[in-house]
Amino acid sequence: MRPSTSSRATRLLGAALTVGLVVLGLFAFVFTEADLVQLDAVRLLYVHVPVAILSYVGFSVCAFGSAMVLWKRSTWWDITAAAGAELGVLFAGLTLVTGAIWGRPIWNTWWEWGDVRLMTTLMMFLVYVGYLAYRRVVPAADVRARRSAIIGLVGVLNIPIVNRSVEWWESRTLHQKSTLGELKIEDLTLFTLMLGMVVFALVFAWLMIHRFRVGWLEHQAETVGLVAAMAERRAQRDAEIDEALAHPGVSSGSDR
């Protein structure tokens, strides 16, 4: 049977998140009003904030998986860590892109060098791009797992820095402090933002499951490939021995 990463549960999850994305689109573009200050650009925040938070989740999964790799030396956790890092990079990239698109009309610039949150987010993104690049160049699976686990753990130090940067360097950022806890956002706007978080969390979970399964299949392909190569070599060697026994005095292929 052809290996697949889908299952009944993931197909249901996929259907649910598709409906969720449509509903979120309706709330973002139809039911909510444009902001008095940000105008229509506020609609980007229904994507920007959830993907930013989920990028932290992805990197945290990577860090936890990395710690478990060092503790348990488990392939399962290594694949989980890699999947988390890949989704973290994807969502952090989306955060940077949606932030730049939002920043152009609101801050009058695509990119603000003086903004500490932008810079720390970019650095966190680059740290994990390095992590993923590193995983591609280390051929031995067990060495790759152990070494990349260290990079994954060091990289997670960025999360509190990115998250708290607007408080620690208040004068060096255009980003506002978190207003979610104080419920300063208008009701329907807050609801749409929360809906965005739920929907993008489903997207994250769906991608995570599939990426993990792809990683697991890759691991099996590597293992099966190695076993098959060893079996082929053994069969070749057995044939050479049989030939040497059948025709003593004639040198075999491996002697040439």
Binding site: L70, M119, T120, M123, L126, V127, V129, G130, Y131, A133, Y134, V137, V138, V143, R146, R147, I150, I151, L153, V154, G155, L157, I161
Partner: protein
């Protein structure tokens, strides 16, 4: 600590004999300073105001070379194997390697400081702050570099993967060292000592992480 010192002494002795840092890394760092001057059209006022940033970017480039050298002395003749068999703990090997890199980098930085005074006409208004920031940043760079340097061992792409891994995690060190130098050189009105605190934090974190993780990577090196 005796083992740690012995490993640091070994690396420094190799440098004294081979003079790779003195004859290649230091000239490279000075060339970078000169190139910055050329790229900025030799405008002294601009150069002076940007000296802290230019200086630390040049130091980071030089550090990459120094770290690659520190690793290559171990891989060239399978010396990592000897280090593993010596019975030295991972943190001792890490500490010795980081200490040797730090000593070499501090020497390079001292000459580069003379370079920015001569080439950019910069002046050190607060030498104590400048030295403190330099030591903090150098410890952080050496600790992170020594850990990541050995992570890149055994790969054909070591020269390209090391900067890609190392430079992003050293970005906060670059920012903090530049701000502290802004105060120390009088190029901006900032509190340099608070940035020294951040440098100390990162130096401490990278020392602890490096000391704890080095034995894991050493067994695969």
């Amino acid at each position: 600590m005796r083992v740690l010192w012995a490993i640091a002494e070994k690396d420094l002795r190799i440098e004294v004999r081979s003079k790779v840092v003195a004859s290649q890394v230091l000239p490279f760092a000075m060339i970078v300073l000169v190139l910055f001057g050329l790229a900025l059209d030799a405008d002294r006022a601009t150069l002076r105001s940007f000296t802290p940033g230019l200086y630390w970017v040049a130091v980071l480039f030089a550090a990459i070379l120094a770290i690659q050298r520190s690793v290559s002395v171990e891989t060239a003749s399978s010396a990592f194997e000897a280090l593993r068999l010596s019975g030295a703990a991972g943190w001792q090997v890490f500490g010795g390697k980081a200490l040797a890199v730090a000593a070499q980098l501090l020497a390079v930085e001292a000459v580069m400081a003379l370079g920015v005074v001569v080439l950019y006409r910069s002046s050190f208004d607060d030498p104590v702050l400048v030295v403190t920031a330099a030591v903090g940043a150098t410890v952080a760079i050496s600790a992170a570099g020594s850990l990541y340097g050995v992570l890149a061992v055994g790969m054909g792409v070591r020269d390209t993967i090391l900067p890609m891994l190392l430079l992003p995690i050293l970005a906060p060190v670059l920012v903090a060292a530049t701000r502290a130098f802004d105060d120390g050189l009088g190029t901006a009105a900032v509190n340099g000592w608070s940035w020294c605190g951040l440098l100390a934090f990162f130096a401490g974190v990278y020392l602890v992480v490096g000391g704890a993780a080095y034995s894991v990577v050493l067994e695969d090196a």
